[in-house]
Chain length 241, copies 2
DNA sequence: CGTGTACTTGAGTGGGCTCAAGCAGGGTGG
DNA sequence: CCACCCTGCTTGAGCCCACTCAAGTACACG
């Protein structure tokens, strides 16, 4: 914290200069002064396993840049069933789909420990409204999210594919970083809600993977648990028809 | 065609003044002259059952406003399997997700007879680039499409729900108009590709619905076939857990 | 050290899959 | 005009994966 330039008045431990949102925002029209002004009011938050960043239906009050951990984006249907629509990881931005609605479209819930910084929605909207190029940038972001969701749909929820294959695909998508073998370890109920299968089936498949040495469990508490995955093996299973 | 104001140089039979894209585009900054200029170069096309408006991977050359019929938006995975991501109906716009990419992200294929008018991509991009408010409007459109796709995902592809329930939900989404009981009648393979189930299962469920009087087949050729649905009955089935 | 939650594992069932054969009907060519 | 074919749809039989129900286990936390 001490190392942050004093002109950046982040109230938490955020390193605003390293922020994805900043990269998202920066374009030729935006001066550093504006950026500093924009960052005013940003706050840093910690969330424990299961804590909600925001709830579906609540008034939109900010967008969140995930700085550590994984966040599940959840939709509830009228019957009360939960369905996980998307998973956000470090560097992703939560709530941007609701930035121009009055209320959040989904809930965002921490899986394990999460650190995120919140940009108040008025700041965000004002900034977007006053910078023309930004809208174009956000449009492309939105379309990228759409593509991501479509991939999710077509890869993970193909009912006629074996659970084992879909599980492998999911695990590959839950990698913490693009290069490492560390994988976010969700609870069995969560994975079931993503793949649309029974929790027992998830447990069986994961147990198989562990027995086969494809997955290794790590970490003790919910907050810090993870898998290490044999990525080539997972990719092989993921490719199976 | 004869009734169109002569200043509107539509080359086909389009009624540009009644176009969804126009409603999409119109904002305070846009003058009528600009709009007329924009509509220059728009062409009208007919497509038979199975004809492609555009193919995934091909260079983006336009966006299409669907004026009649239904269009399936298709993604191919590396194994060559088809998956229908979305269905467009009268008034929807195809290819807008690819408007700022070099190549189309999906294929768009006619189901039955389709009429659509094409806006050349240079016109579209130029128009968007020169009208700031438009980007905001497109951003909201993009986010609405995202929400639609998420609903599609969470309602139709829940693996643990019976095929009968998901079929009912699909049929309700394939209504030709919001108010009528007429439903776009897709082939069994297509419906299977949407729900991620086997074609035989689709056939069985549809046959059941017909026997129960919930669906009535209409039309003879692929081009003009349709269902009439007992909407209350379908809604009841769609609600079942 | 007890308790609760999350996970694991088993047994039995059933929905949907696969394989396979039969059917309908629109289009084509003789 | 009719026979044929070809494609898409229907229907049946048998099987298997994943579901449900249910009991047992492990481990984090107080």
């Amino acid at each position: 914290m001490a190392r942050l330039p004093p002109t950046i008045r982040c109230q938490g431990r955020s390193n605003c200069f390293d922020c994805t949102l900043r990269h998202e925002m920066v374009c030729s029209e935006v001066t550093l002064d504006e950026l500093i002004d924009f960052h005013t009011g940003i706050e840093d938050f910690d969330y424990g396993h299961g804590a909600a960043l925001f709830e579906m239906g609540a008034p939109t009050e900010g967008v969140y840049c995930i700085r550590h951990g994984a966040v599940k984006i959840v939709k509830h249907d009228q019957a009360g069933n939960q369905r996980i629509i998307r998973v956000l990881k470090k560097g992703d931005i939560a709530g941007i789909e609701s930035a121009f609605s009055d209320h959040y479209e989904h809930s965002a819930v921490a899986v394990g420990d999460v650190r995120a910084c919140r940009v108040p929605i008025e700041y965000f909207r004002n900034f977007v409204a006053t910078h023309g190029n930004l809208q174009m940038r956000l449009l492309k972001t939105s379309q990228a999210t759409l593509r991501e969701t479509e991939d999710w749909l077509s890869e993970l929820t193909v009912g006629n594919l074996p659970a084992r294959t879909r599980m492998a695909r999911l695990l590959l998508r839950l990698k913490v970083t693009a290069d490492g073998d560390r994988i976010h370890r969700f609870g069995v109920e969560d994975m079931a809600a993503i793949l649309g299968i029974a929790a027992e089936t998830v447990s069986r498949v994961v147990s198989d993977f562990v027995r086969e040495g494809i997955l290794v469990k790590g970490g003790k508490s919910f907050a810090t648990r993870y898998f290490r995955g044999d990525l080539p093996a997972l990719e092989k299973i993921a490719r199976e028809a």
